[in-house]
Amino acid sequence: MNILAAEEHNPLIPPVGEIIVGIIAFAILYFVLAKFVFPQMEKTFVARREAIEGGIERAEAMQAEAKAALEQYRAQLAEARTEAAQIRDAARAEGQQIIEELRAQAQEESARIVARGEEQLAASRQQVVTELRGQIGTLAVDLAGRVVGESLADDARRSGTVDRFLDDLDGMTAASSSSDGRGGSSVYVPQDAR
């Protein structure tokens, strides 16, 4: 057919061959696109959405985890604080107790020291008294011998006299120590009543 002939063409009347070519061309395109390309795109869309949603989910999970860790940390902190307060209270109470004990011990000790001191005082007083008794007897005899100018030959009489004198002295001392309650005084104070 001579296309360039002067015959009139009607553009709205398509040649059959061209229609078939068009059908084939579109059919091939549709087949390949619908079979391979578009499903691939759909898959990619799904994968992308999942990737995004997965990312968000992961972030949420991490946030929850962090929150839980924070809660736990706070709880532990509060627990530690309570414990510390308990320990402090216990220590304070213990300290108080130790102080009390020490004080009691110290008081006991001081009481004991005082008692021993008194005992020693009493003992030394007794010793002094005993010594004095011996010396006083000798001194008094010497003195009396010198004053009288005679030697008292009878030892038995002499010692009896001295002993009697000293016994009197002792009795006076015991009476004075019990009456003034202090004891330990070695000073002889004569009593009016005797």
């Binding site: 057919m1 553009p11 070519v21 578009f38 795109m41 990619t44």
Partner: protein
């Protein structure tokens, strides 16, 4: 030699002084010489340059889409992003939003339509090719017939044949008296006018777009060598040719989109029973 080149020769020949003036391009623009022709079962196949442009455009868009999605990543590359964006416009913007929740199964068909028309339309401004196969009525018609078959098939499948044809002939809510007028119009509209307008809209846009470009281009050439004061209008004609090329770019995308949206609208009518 292309028919535009022939027209150019005609324009240049007009200088020859036989006073014929500007030879405007004719409908022969769309009937280039046959490059390969054969006959199968009495059907004549004539492969003109327009036929080859159709094959090139289809192969190209197919190759690009396949290449873009061969190794798809969660984070798309430029090619993948472009391909996915094109499909997303059809899938979400048309299939899901126009047809509704039942629309997603039609997304591959609508996407194929969109990419096929877009690629073939785009040929109208590709240098040296510069004609869209869609300006040959056969190709838009093929697409329109596919659409026609699909929406009728879906209508019968979804609503049942009786319901579908009854609703098409007797739209609900129309007063009985008006049916005398409405029924023939509705039947004509659903079964003849819809596919026809669908095909003609696309065809006429690409046809007219090509004619405009040729007229302004040839006009510029003619005015440059016309040899009188009219030559001052040559830059204007050239400028218009460039402006119309950009306008053509708009038409290319718009017509691909409109064809797809209208297909989705018809499918929506088939999926959802008339209210």
């Amino acid at each position: 030699m292309t028919s535009s080149a022939l027209a150019l020769v005609n324009v240049l020949a007009a200088e020859g002084g036989d006073g014929s003036g500007f030879e405007s391009p004719t409908i022969e623009e769309f009937y280039p010489e046959s490059l390969v022709s054969f006959s199968v079962f009495g059907i004549d196949f004539e492969f003109t340059r327009i036929t080859f442009i159709l094959i090139i455009a289809t192969a190209l868009i197919l190759a690009l889409l396949v290449a873009a999605m061969r190794r798809p990543g969660i984070v798309p590359g430029k090619m993948q992003w472009l391909a996915e964006s094109g499909y997303s416009v059809v899938r979400d913007g048309i299939a899901r939003d126009v047809i509704g929740p039942k629309g997603l199964p039609f997304a591959p068909f609508l996407g194929s339509l969109f990419f096929f028309i877009l690629a073939n339309n785009a040929m109208s401004i590709v240098p040296f090719l510069q004609i869209s196969p869609m300006s040959r009525f056969a190709f838009p018609l093929v697409l329109a017939v596919f659409v026609w078959i699909l929406y009728n098939y879906v209508g019968i499948r979804e609503q049942g044949a009786g319901r579908y044809f009854k609703d098409a002939a007797v739209p609900p809510g129309v007063p009985a008296a008006a049916l005398i007028l409405v029924t023939p119009i509705e039947l004509l509209q659903v079964f003849i006018i819809r596919p026809f307008t669908l095909a003609v809209r696309l065809f006429a846009n690409m046809f007219a777009g090509h004619m405009l470009l040729v007229v302004f281009s040839l006009g510029a050439v003619y005015l440059i060598q016309v040899g009188n004061f009219s030559a001052v209008f040559a830059p204007l004609s050239l400028l218009m040719a460039i402006v119309m090329t950009f306008f053509e770019l708009l038409v290319i995308v718009l017509q691909a989109y409109v064809f797809t949206v209208l297909t989705a609208t018809y499918l929506n009518g088939s999926v959802e029973p008339a209210h």
